[in-house]
């Protein structure tokens, strides 16, 4: 009789569960149930009262049944004060970072690193040929039970999060820039001929290329959200219906970086005086609000707010009195939360430790966690909301 290593088997089971994600419609599903709650309560109360009072209270009960329940909306800020909870050092530069399947995933030189969100420790290093992480390699997306990573070798890798193994390597027609997954399809933008003006589509179930989509931009960034895929370049954004695979809108507004809270969010520069975040109506392309925040900005939507990381080592736009025009090496970076219901900065911005001076920053949000990436110092700063 050979004894079985139970703890090992339990660990394997846990890894397997961490590789799975709840259904994407979990929140709407819960909202639907909560909407029915007052009705359910009213029915229970009505039954009880009917027995006791023989129908005397019937009109009141009917009124109660028609009450509109208060149901939490995802567009409202999740309460809490952002606090730095960890600094995760990495041994080399990272290209992209994303959060999914209970882990932080970071692409570096010829590898994908998986960091356990519970322990902040590297739990797997997956060798993949990325070659140039700033030249089209390393963009990460999650969907259809897999992790998808672009490589400057003109391929997209499919990785099984349950085993941390590459299960497919899908050749692309041109050098990729970024990847997203939406409606069972993997969408990739390209940065070189013949990829300019095209978005490559891959069927996530068969790993086969679908007919590419011609887009009215030369997109780099690609985002999904608000039931659409968004492609952006400097001066235009296009909206793609992910089910039909057609471009449904195009508007002359560029530099969109985040989608959420019913809006598109990007950066603006107003002459030489001012720069900051702008909120754009996804349907009309109209700028709905501007929130001045100087310096280069990185942003992502999550936890009911837009998170904006400020790179203070970049040159501010302002050349007014007191501005030397030189790089600021003394002011620490900050992290702002913008409330989509008011378009205002929520609370006090968080001073980012160790981000002085940061060559450039990134911010990602997922699974209740915010990460600010100090690429230059190879550190991930983890931020969570505390009561």
């Amino acid at each position: 009789m050979i004894p079985v290593n139970v703890e090992e088997q339990l660990r394997a089971l846990r890894e397997q569960a961490l590789g799975r994600e709840p259904r994407p419609d979990a929140w709407p599903r819960l909202q639907r149930r909560l909407r029915r709650e007052p009705t359910r309560r009213a029915v229970l109360v009505a039954g009880l009262v009917l027995v006791v009072l023989a129908g005397i209270m019937a009109p009141g009960l009917l009124a109660r049944r028609t009450e509109q329940p208060t149901v939490p909306a995802l567009g409202t800020p999740v309460p809490g004060r952002p606090e730095v909870t960890a600094r995760i050092p990495l041994d080399r530069q990272v290209g992209y970072v994303a959060i999914g399947f209970g882990a932080i995933w970071a692409t570096g030189e010829d590898r994908l690193v998986r960091i356990d969100l519970r322990t902040n420790r590297v739990v797997a290093t997956i060798p993949i040929r990325l070659r140039d992480i700033f030249g089209g390699g390393g963009s990460i997306a999650f969907g259809e039970g897999a992790v998808w990573v672009t490589s400057s070798e003109d391929v997209v890798y499919r990785i099984d999060p349950a085993t941390n193994r590459v299960t497919a390597s899908i050749p692309l027609p041109a050098r990729p820039i970024e990847v997203v997954v939406a409606a069972g399809t993997v969408w990739v933008t390209h940065g070189a001929d013949p990829g300019e003006g095209f978005v490559t589509r891959i069927d996530a179930h068969t790993n086969k290329l679908l007919t590419p989509i011609q887009v009215p931009t030369n997109p780099g960034p690609i985002r999904s959200g608000l039931d659409a895929v968004w492609v952006v370049d400097c001066c235009t954004f296009g909206r793609i219906d992910p089910r039909r695979g057609t471009v449904t809108q195009s508007h002359p507004v560029g530099d969109i970086w985040a989608v959420g809270g019913g809006a598109l969010w990007g950066t603006y520069i107003n002459g030489t005086d001012e720069s900051g975040v702008q909120r754009v109506d996804p349907d009309t392309g109209r700028v709905l609000a501007r929130i001045p925040i100087p310096h280069d900005l990185a942003m992502e939507y999550g936890l009911g707010t837009l998170w904006v990381a400020q790179n203070t080592s970049s040159q501010p736009v302002s050349n007014g009195p007191g501005s030397s025009g030189n790089l600021d090496r003394t002011t620490p970076g900050r992290l702002y939360r913008i409330d989509p219901t008011t378009n205002r900065v929520l609370g006090q911005p968080l001073i980012l430790p160790g981000i002085v001076p940061a060559p450039y920053l990134g911010v990602v949000v997922g699974e209740g966690t915010v990460l600010v990436l100090d690429f230059g110092r190879k550190t991930l700063i983890r931020i969570e909301l505390v009561p």
């Binding site: 009789m1 050979i2 004894p3 079985v4 139970v6 703890e7 088997q9 339990l10 394997a12 089971l13 846990r14 397997q16 569960a17 961490l18 799975r20 994600e21 709840p22 259904r23 979990a26 929140w27 599903r29 819960l30 149930r33 909560l34 709650e37 208060t70 149901v71 939490p72 909306a73 995802l74 409202t76 800020p77 999740v78 309460p79 809490g80 209970g102 519970r118 936890l303 009911g304 699974e367 209740g368 909301l385 009561p387």
Partner: protein
Amino acid sequence: MDPRPSRDEELSRLFEVHYPDTVRLAFYLTGSWAVGEDLAQEAFVRLWRRWGRLRDPHAALGYLRTTVVNLSRSSLRRRLLELRHQPTTGEAGHDTDLVAGLDVHRALAALPARKRACVVLRHLVDLSVEETAAVLGISTGSVKSQTHKGLRLLEAALTERDDRARLHAQEVKER
């Protein structure tokens, strides 16, 4: 103005942060991802109903876990029947809801409820002895002994299954 976040805001935060873990806890306890999702939804609905009676909003996560553990007991009875009629791991093949950990799941499902909950909370959810005791409403001493016994029972069940499989393979070979 009351500075405390409302029930809806708190629920929204809890959902964002803890829903996947709640599903996983239910999955460990029942062996089915789909059932796990249903139980997690039910636990959040119950929490929403009960919010006004929670002594402390910080107790919400503990309440969610306790609810899942309790709900899983009745759900597991149904699931056990299904498991008994499922093929063994090698034959499970393409059933995506029954994963490679089927043997562990079967063995877990066969444990008495409290031992199963202790093993899951301590070894799969990574709760401390104190946290596990709070979720189950038992003493820390009980958590330690139940976890230990649960692990030994699991080991015995899995070893026996391994031996049977080996014996079967040998018989087939000899034939």
